[in-house]
Symmetry: C2
DNA sequence: ACATACGTGTAGCGATCACTACAAGAAAGA
DNA sequence: TCTTTCTTGTAGTGATCGCTACACGTATGT
């Protein structure tokens, strides 16, 4: 009663997920067709649907995969940095390297993959927007802990400061897609770092 | 030999262009279908193609219309402000008002309408990217004039400063689409203003 | 060896995409 | 009035969209 009968999957789930990630990262959610996905993943539509459910479910599996791999520098920084200011500094500088990497699509998948969408797919864009806002809120909380600990002035608007850093990161992502180099982004990052005294 | 025979156009070009602008602004280039456009414009496909050529040509007519109307606060600020720093300050504060206006779609059409696109429409995204980069270069030139006039330190990296303001504006545009209010954006703007000493 | 269970490839589903052929209708010139 | 010239609405074009029915093949369990 332990094992299951049947043919068993013929392709590697993680490899297929990574291939789909690169396509979605480059062309966005609606800009990527199933034909493109199946070709990049090396499988046919029925295999894709069997393994991932639908284009939308595959996309959010891709988002999870992205957050756990290419985008995990964010979560690692959140876990390792002990103060809000050093966290902001590290996020900005590491984003500059990742967003303008020459071996992967430019920018951040969560920031760019579903900015404008068809009316029927608005909920997909909304879900990514919530992830962006959640990230800003997490930055604000880290800065609030700094404030409570006396590391930054007690009248600091930590929500506004986090939104400012978030805006800078989002702008860096777009400029990476627009052709900016890692050096270009680092110079932007340093302006933001100086602005908040980090 | 002066006048021309024929029926003459039955709809107003500018009204149709404005209606198309609101749809493209909201859903982006590829997220907007011809059915949506014709319904919003109150005309049928043949009239649209007769007047504007194609979906792509209509879109760039819309971009021109946008720059001449909703987005003209940028060109006006460029023309009226006498120093680079006051120009940056004005762009940031006015963008905060425009991007989070409650009577129009959020953000800036040039920034958000074609971030990720199908492979066949990459040239559309590239054209908007060039407009964004041209805008940053124009900001850099204004700041370089400031530097040459001695208003800002002689070792100022004006290109980097302009890229930083451009990134802030682009981030503000996305956060407006993500639900930020005019107040939220103004607080972001003030961080950037303080950062460059404007 | 046999039966069972699963994934896979082929081939095509209805819906929607951007776009257009065509004829009817309406205004201007003679 | 009659002809010319232009725009308009109807109705569709081929192509592509996301998705799936179904038979085949291949593996496992007994």
């Amino acid at each position: 009663m332990s094992g299951k009968a049947g043919q068993g999957r013929k392709f590697d789930l993680d490899e297929a997920l990574e291939a789909a990630t690169l396509v979605f990262w480059d062309h966005g959610y609606e800009g990527t067709s199933l034909a493109e996905l199946t070709q990049a993943m090396g499988i046919n539509p029925p295999s894709l649907y069997k393994a991932f459910g639908s284009k939308e479910e595959l996309f959010f599996s891709v988002v999870d995969h992205y957050n756990a791999t290419h985008g995990n520098f964010m979560a690692i920084a959140f876990a390792e940095e002990t103060t809000g200011l050093t966290l902001m500094r590290r996020l900005l500088l590491e984003a500059a390297e990742h967003y303008a990497s020459t071996t992967y699509p430019g920018g951040c998948l969560v920031i760019s993959a579903a900015v404008t969408v068809t009316a029927t797919n608005r909920h997909v864009a909304n879900r990514l927007a919530k992830m962006r806002n959640d990230n800003i809120n997490a930055m604000a909380e880290a800065l609030t802990r700094d404030r409570d600990a006396g590391h930054i002035p007690p009248d600091t608007d930590t929500k506004a400061m986090a939104a400012f850093i978030g805006a800078t990161l989002q702008g860096m992502s777009q400029q990476a897609r627009d052709g900016a180099t890692q050096d270009d982004l680092k110079r932007i990052a340093h302006y933001a770092i100086t602005a908040i005294g980090a």
